[in-house]
């Protein structure tokens, strides 16, 4: 989060929030979160269970506009389930492939929010994190590079984008960790070091079939409890400081992979790891993407000059 060498604090602040960056980071985020949105969508299946309003979904009647009630009363609930699911799937596919540019990202955000209104029951914090990321991405043109769209590939060189959406995303990620850390600190199980023991012994989320965590591992669980608490509370500071940023991100990857190995809580670990893309230097990421893309283009289309970058 370097602010460069602007003269006055106002200019530095302006540069921090609004300087122009290559669009590659937004494209990488678009693809990563497109894939994660698709995974999230596939988790909330079968369609008859979570998309049909006669399935496991809140009974209609509590909505603002009564649309769900109308769908059920009209007898079209099974058809509507397929329409909504397919529309959402198409929006996510287009976003991932870079078809439709910003419109596809906006459609994905709408679909994501719509899914929450349609049936909130199977959705966890990872869905909300996806919504928050998509909200940041709609403000940037994410479809300029790494796209299969032929019109984009033939277009003029990619235009730089404002860093503001990336800053909003970085702030959101810091907020997720800090808010989660404060909530945890308010609970005595986190303060006495037993929270991870109880989480890993819980029959609904545990991955390994153990009644309770074995005694030799309980000390590790206590250390992990305090480590997680410290990491989440300190994340905003550690990631803001350039010297500790990479170590913090590596530690975060380790933390989330550890959670994924031991607990089954949907795509949350992967969503949080993917948000770390927002903390990588956008210029270096652009160079890397260009190199990889050109190498691939040279391998598969040796007679065609590199396009779309």
């Amino acid at each position: 989060m370097s602010t460069g060498g602007a003269a006055t604090p106002v200019e530095r602040c302006h540069r921090f929030w609004f300087r122009q960056i290559p669009p590659h980071v937004y494209a990488v985020l678009r693809i990563a979160f497109g894939v994660l949105c698709l995974l999230d969508l596939l988790g909330a299946t079968p369609i008859s269970m979570f998309w049909d309003l006669n399935g496991i979904a809140p009974l209609p009647g509590g909505g603002t506009w009564g649309f769900r009630s109308w769908v059920v009363a009209s007898g079209f609930a099974p058809v509507a389930a397929w329409v909504v699911f397919t529309g959402t799937l198409l929006a996510y596919l287009c976003m991932t492939l870079g078809i439709g540019g910003q419109a596809a990202v906006f459609a994905s955000l709408l679909a994501n929010v719509w899914q929450t209104a349609w049936n909130v029951l199977p959705l966890s914090a990872s869905h909300q994190a996806l919504t928050a990321v998509l909200f940041s991405l709609v403000w940037a043109d994410c479809g300029q590079v790494l796209t299969v769209s032929p019109t984009r590939n033939a277009a003029t060189p990619p235009q730089p984008q404002s860093i503001a959406p990336l800053r909003v995303l970085q702030y959101q990620v810091c907020l997720i960790y800090f808010s989660s850390g404060v909530s945890k600190f308010s609970n005595e199980l986190w303060r006495d070091g037993s929270a991870i023991y109880y989480a890993m012994s819980h029959n609904v989320v545990q991955r390994f079939p153990v009644d309770v965590l074995p005694l030799p591992l309980q000390g590790v669980a206590t250390l992990t409890t305090y480590g997680t608490l410290a990491f989440e509370l300190a994340f905003p500071l550690l990631v803001a400081w350039r010297r500790t940023r990479i170590v913090t991100l590596i530690a975060g990857v380790g933390l989330h992979l550890g959670a994924w190995v031991t607990l089954e809580v949907g795509p949350f670990s992967w969503v949080m790891i993917a948000t770390y893309i927002a903390f990588l230097p956008p210029e270096r990421l652009a160079t890397l993407v260009d190199e990889v893309w050109q190498r691939k283009a040279a391998r598969y289309r040796p007679s065609t000059p590199s396009q779309g970058l």
Binding site: H14, T131, L189, S194, Y198, H202, N203, E264
Partner: protein, 265 residues
Amino acid sequence: MRTTSPLVGALLLWHLLAITLGSLRSPYSPPAPPRSVPPSRLAQALDAVAVVQARLHARLWHIQEPVRPAIDAYLTMTGMAQPWNMFSNPPQYDEYLRVRFYIERARNPHQTRVATELVMPVAREDQLRLFRAYRESYEDKAYSIALQRFYRNRAAHLIAPDTKSSELPNDLAPIGRFYARRFAERGLSQGERIVRIEVWRGAAATPPPGRPVDEAARLARRAVLLEYYQGPVDERFNVPRVPPYHGVDYDADIEWLLEYFEEPS
């Protein structure tokens, strides 16, 4: 350097303020139960810090209350709710959910049979959970959220034996009805119909860290669960009586509470 519209700056500031204050939870929560193990020195020190943190939290909550409606409206409109309290209160017990159907025959309405189906956790808890568990976690989440909504919406005075089905919030109704429909498709003979649907929540305490597991209780629970894993448990002879609302039932060390019921006409 390009200039940026003050409106863009103001909107950005508002958004950051809204998501920050939106992530603040209400500081008023029920008091925590007493600890099952004596706290370490570190835990005692952190408890002292938590007292100060709770005061600051309550103060901040009070300060932001006037703008809260505007923030909530903005976050609802944009779909940007900030519920970042994952695992902040890990359960100190194993959780279960089962549905029970009372089935009557048209020819002999007094001869009732009962079928009981375990629905949560979806995956068997005696096996390693791999790829299929990913989708199953969404199903478990659905039951868990439905239960949370039910408890939030049920008034305390409704926890009484004579509570009628119509008085209860309907948050658990979709679960009961979904499984009843599925059971009717697969498990009903001609002339049979479901006359009562019940949703039961089960809990079995997890021993505190350092305490051994009661081996006899563990094996008894395993035996009960193995029976549930075979599919709906059909009882035709020793048919359980219809319990009062919030009645209790036991399967090994699992304590079941009747949380919701309805009687389809």
